[in-house]
């Protein structure tokens, strides 16, 4: 799992990466030349017996400065053209491709809601803090926010784009190699800005389709008596005020839990999705992530065990 500009995994990030390399070569050269020029000047000026200030002595230097300013201008124009060309290629990528996959991403303090819309309403589904995408497929992310400004940034795939109240921003991504790419909110969004991560899982199309059709199914019915009791516990606690489990609960304040057990992490990347972490999170989430909207829950220990058994069955 990586999160880095320097390891592009998609066409946009690669293009930006090439531009980056070009800039680095040019700018490093400029830096070395200017600093060397300055050092030679210091060395000379240290040996000068007296300052040279007559017009005749200054004239050749005027030409030098003029040439240097000219070279600077030309260099900047070159950098500008390269930047605008890359920017336009990255920004409009996919606009003309017909088979784009569209995904809605909504920012919340402090987690990501990810919805895969479908023309058939019961085929559309929601998950949280993870985006699955098929390889070599342009994906249009439609970005919105429920509260403050957030910023979605998947450095391995593309630059960032803000999620702004009252607007829907768009961002194209495409992965060219399989992998798990980490992303983290980039615009300061309050107390737990540091703990607002998501992962992008890029996988071959057949695996993606498999995942997708599974996510489209309703939640598994509880099988064992513990799981059945666990579901009763879930429905009798305040959980249902915020969370949804298809078939049982439909609140939209917190993440959709229909397929909770398939997700790699909890609490927007803060915890690995293990039974122990989940139990701790349910009992006292604010102790783990101060400021979270998830309240602490007083819950008998056997009820908790059954609830966990139920939630673990939501695969």
């Amino acid at each position: 799992m990586i999160q880095s500009v320097l390891h592009p995994a998609g066409i946009q990030a690669s293009r930006i990466g090439s531009l980056w390399n070009g800039y680095m070569v040019v700018l490093t050269t400029v830096y070395v030349i200017v600093i060397l020029w300055m050092l030679v000047a210091v060395w000379r000026a240290h040996k000068n017996a007296a300052p040279q200030i007559s017009d005749a002595e200054e004239r050749p230097h005027s030409i030098t400065v003029g040439v240097a300013v000219g070279i600077t201008t030309v260099t900047l124009i070159g950098l500008l053209i390269a930047s605008v060309a890359t920017g336009s290629a990255v920004g409009t990528y996919g606009d003309k491709k017909p088979d784009a996959l569209e995904i809605d991403v909504t920012g919340h303090q402090w987690w990501w809601e990810v919805q895969y819309p479908d023309p058939e309403p019961d085929k559309s589904f929601k998950t949280a803090n993870e985006i699955h995408i098929p390889l070599h497929q342009p994906v249009l992310l439609r970005l919105a926010t429920r509260d403050v400004i957030h910023s979605l940034w998947i450095p391995n795939l593309n630059g960032k784009r803000d999620l702004i109240p009252g607007r829907v921003n768009k961002l194209w991504i495409e992965a060219d190699r399989p992998g798990v790419f980490r992303s983290q909110c980039a615009e300061f969004c309050g107390l737990q800005h540091a703990h607002m991560a998501l992962v992008v899982i890029a996988e071959p199309n057949e695996k993606y389709q498999q995942w997708k059709s599974h996510q489209q199914t309703p939640a598994n019915d509880p099988v064992t008596p513990e799981q059945r009791h666990g579901r009763d516990v879930f429905l009798s606690l305040p959980c249902v005020n915020c969370h949804a489990i298809t078939g049982d609960a439909y609140a939209t304040i917190g993440p959709d839990l229909t397929h909770l057990a398939t997700r790699p992490t909890l609490a927007a990347g803060e915890l690995l999705n293990t039974k122990g972490n989940l139990g701790g999170w349910i009992v006292n989430a604010p102790a783990i992530k101060p400021g979270t909207a998830m309240p602490p829950n007083q819950i008998a220990s056997n009820d908790l065990q059954d609830l966990l058994a139920y939630l673990e069955s939501l695969r």
């Binding site: 999160q3 880095s4 500009v5 320097l6 990030a13 930006i16 980056w20 800039y23 700018l27 400029v30 830096y31 200017v34 600093i35 300055m38 000047a41 210091v42 000379r44 000026a45 240290h46 017996a49 007296a50 300052p51 040279q52 400065v65 240097a68 600077t72 900047l76 500008l80 930047s83 605008v84 890359t86 920017g87 409009t92 509260d147 403050v148 400004i149 910023s151 940034w153 450095p155 630059g159 960032k160 784009r161 803000d162 702004i164 109240p165 009252g166 607007r167 768009k170 980490r182 980039a186 615009e187 300061f188 309050g190 107390l191 737990q192 800005h193 540091a194 990347g269 101060p290 400021g291």
Partner: protein, 662 residues
């Protein structure tokens, strides 16, 4: 207020017939009268009613350095918290307050005020006048700045310190997501500091344009003074934008207006445009004075005038104009249209041209000069090495595709510290060393000074260079912690060690100054054999600056002065009179009397503070404050008895002059 009768320009030699006692005694009586007229008032009330620009300038500088120390401690706390993954030294709430306080303090309470303090102290001296144009406004500006700083830190100690970052984006800082008084504190502090900045800007621009020494035409103004003129105009155009912005934010929070509320037709992006329309010029308001220091220091230590003076001035002015046309590069990630972004990319890149031209001119200045290396020069050379990195990483940020990768990451943190510490703090410290003899009359310790430079250079790069890489590795700014597995630990630990070295460097400078202010070698009036006018008066300068206002006959006033350089006589010594000259060629125009001590500025600052600070708790405090301001203003402008008498006498004289037959 202005008086008829133009002062004469006297030949110095003509006042010394026989080089004897007469001239000496004339000087002596004038000096004694000036000592009396311009004397500082004793006691606390005297301190509060002081209007001497040197006292007020030093107050600005010392107060700003106190805030610099506090903000530095905040930075150290952040570096401790981030020195290892999942550290728990600071909780997220405290961390968010501390990073907000660090940025806010550094930008609004240190960087801008310290540059203003330098301007207030040196501009009147460098242009050869006795005080700034509006001494009472000047005193008011200081008190309101101090009040803003005290207000901010009082609220911080009361656990109501702002926590939404130094640019406090809505809606995070709005009424819905930031209940309590934290964002109000931030927004109101802006008003305090910007009132102060505006008053300084007005004084400096008027002083530099209308009170210059005879002969100091526009093409002979020292580059230091030019840089201060340029930032004064930038302040006048930039600061109102942020005052409106923070004012709207306050109104949204206090009286439920909807300037930034999307659901009622407001717009959070509008906030960002307004903020950065100020915010980008702000960076240049901090950076351009530093260019003035570089020019002052290089002139003196290369023993020659700055190469390409007209280009230097034009570059400053061009930079100032351009600075208002590139604010959108702070907003590339908000999803603005492509074409608009390209325009701002172009503008952001082209601002490198005037800066480049200045750098080339300085290099040629060094090349053709006779360089002596002292601590101030080291700081200037360090400035080259460090600032240019910041300038070049700025070109990366101007490019939309590159910016959207590194925007809001530690790369940006690295960039703006390279620009602000590298670009402004290095020359500022160089300037402190350079003018320390003028302030104190004593020399600083050279070895300790050079040590402080090397410590700063090493510590600075150790702290901030790794942050470039951290940003590329995906570390966003403003995170209070990061997870073990991300691999950001070692570079963060390096940065934290570097921060310790920076602290050591600053400590070295502080010790150097404290010790040598009392026991350093005597410096005399002009230890560097420097060229600008402030070096022609004693160190520290007397309250009236010049017994006779100087006359300037070249771009380097003292170097170009003849042995019998003329000076101006005819100003009254029993009143605080200054000479007003014409804007372009600085020919004498008329005499102007400046006010002396007054308690009115202090009282006005108190009244303003009551109105502004009170209004965030209860809106009616604002009109109450306004009423108090009105009362103080009546006191401020109440004519003094002697002024009225003077006026009547002048009037009688006019009448007599018009009727010569009598």
């Amino acid at each position: 207020m202005s008086k008829q009768g133009t002062p004469r320009v006297a030949q110095a030699s003509s006042l010394r017939p026989g080089r004897g006692a007469q001239a000496g005694s004339l000087r002596y009586t004038d000096r004694a009268a000036l000592e009396k007229t311009w004397a500082h008032a004793p006691g606390l009330l005297g301190w509060l009613s002081e209007t001497d620009h040197k006292k007020i300038g030093l107050r600005y500088i010392i107060t700003a350095l106190c805030f610099f120390t506090i903000a530095g401690i905040e930075a150290a706390l952040m570096r401790l918290q981030l020195s290892r993954p999942e550290n728990t030294l600071l909780n997220p709430d405290l961390y968010n307050q501390i990073f907000t306080m660090h940025g806010t303090t550094m930008m609004f309470l240190f960087a801008v005020p310290v540059m203003e303090g330098m301007a207030i102290y040196f501009v009147p001296l460098m242009v050869g006048t006795r005080n700034v144009a509006f001494p009472k406004l000047n005193a008011f500006g200081y008190f309101i700045y101090l009040a803003g700083g005290i207000f901010l830190y009082t609220m911080f100690v009361l656990h109501a310190g702002p926590d939404a970052g130094w640019f406090a984006y809505v809606p995070l800082s709005g009424p819905q997501f930031d209940p309590g008084k934290r964002a109000d504190t931030w927004a109101q502090m802006i008003t305090f500091t910007e009132i102060s900045a505006l008053s300084v800007a007005i004084e400096i621009s008027v002083t530099a344009f209308k009170q210059r020494a005879v002969g100091m035409s526009l093409n002979r103004i020292p580059l230091f003074v030019w840089s201060m003129i340029v930032i004064s105009f930038m302040i006048i155009f930039a600061m109102p934008a942020v005052m409106l912005d923070s004012g709207f934010l306050c109104l949204d929070r206090e009286v439920s207006t909807h300037f930034f509320n999307r659901s009622e037709g407001g717009d959070p992006i509008f906030y960002q445009h307004m903020f950065w329309f100020f915010g980008h010029p702000e960076v240049y308001i901090i950076f351009i004075p530093a260019l003035g220091y570089v020019s002052s220091i290089l002139t003196v230590f290369t023993r020659r005038k700055i190469f390409g003076y007209p280009v230097m001035v034009a570059s400053l002015v061009f930079t100032a104009f351009m600075a208002f046309g590139l604010w959108v590069h702070h907003m590339f990630a908000t999803g603005l249209p492509q074409l608009g972004q390209s325009f701002f990319t172009a503008a952001s890149m082209m601002i490198a041209i005037p800066t480049g031209a200045q750098i080339f001119n300085w290099i040629v200045t060094i090349w053709t000069g006779r360089l002596t290396i002292r601590t101030p020069v080291l700081y200037v050379l360090g400035w080259f090495a460090v600032f240019i990195i910041g300038g070049l990483s700025g070109i990366i940020l101007a490019s939309v595709p590159l910016d959207v990768q590194v925007h809001d990451t530690y790369f940006v943190v690295a960039h703006f510290h390279y620009v602000l510490i590298g670009g402004a703090l290095f020359p500022l410290f160089g300037a402190f060393y350079f003018w320390f003899p003028k302030w104190t009359g004593r020399m600083y310790g050279e070895k300790l000074g050079q040590l402080s430079f090397w410590l700063l250079l090493i510590g600075f790069n150790l702290t901030f260079f790794p942050m470039h890489i951290l940003g590329l590795e995906g570390m966003p700014r403003r995170v209070y912690t990061y997870q073990q597995g991300l691999g950001w630990g070692p570079l963060n630990a390096t940065a934290s060690i570097g921060a310790g070295i920076i602290a050591l460097s600053v400590l070295t400078t502080v010790i150097n100054f404290f010790v040598n202010a009392r026991s350093g070698a005597f410096a005399g009036a002009n230890p560097w054999n420097a060229d600008t006018l402030e070096w022609s008066v004693s160190s520290p300068p007397p309250p009236y600056n010049y017994v006779y206002p100087p006359v300037v006959s070249g771009p380097n006033a003292l170097w170009d002065a003849a042995p019998d350089q003329p000076y101006v006589v005819g100003l009254r010594t029993d009143k605080r009179e200054v000479l007003v000259t014409q804007v372009l060629d600085a020919q004498p125009s008329h005499r102007e009397e400046l006010p002396g001590h007054s308690l009115a500025p202090f009282l006005l600052a108190i009244a303003t503070t009551i109105g502004l600070a009170g209004s965030i708790f209860f809106a009616w405090w604002f009109p109450i404050g306004l009423g108090l301001v009105g009362l103080v203003m009546i006191y401020w402008f109440w004519p003094r008895k002697e002024d009225v008498i003077d006026h009547l006498v002048e009037e009688q004289r006019e009448i007599l002059r018009e009727e010569p037959a009598v």
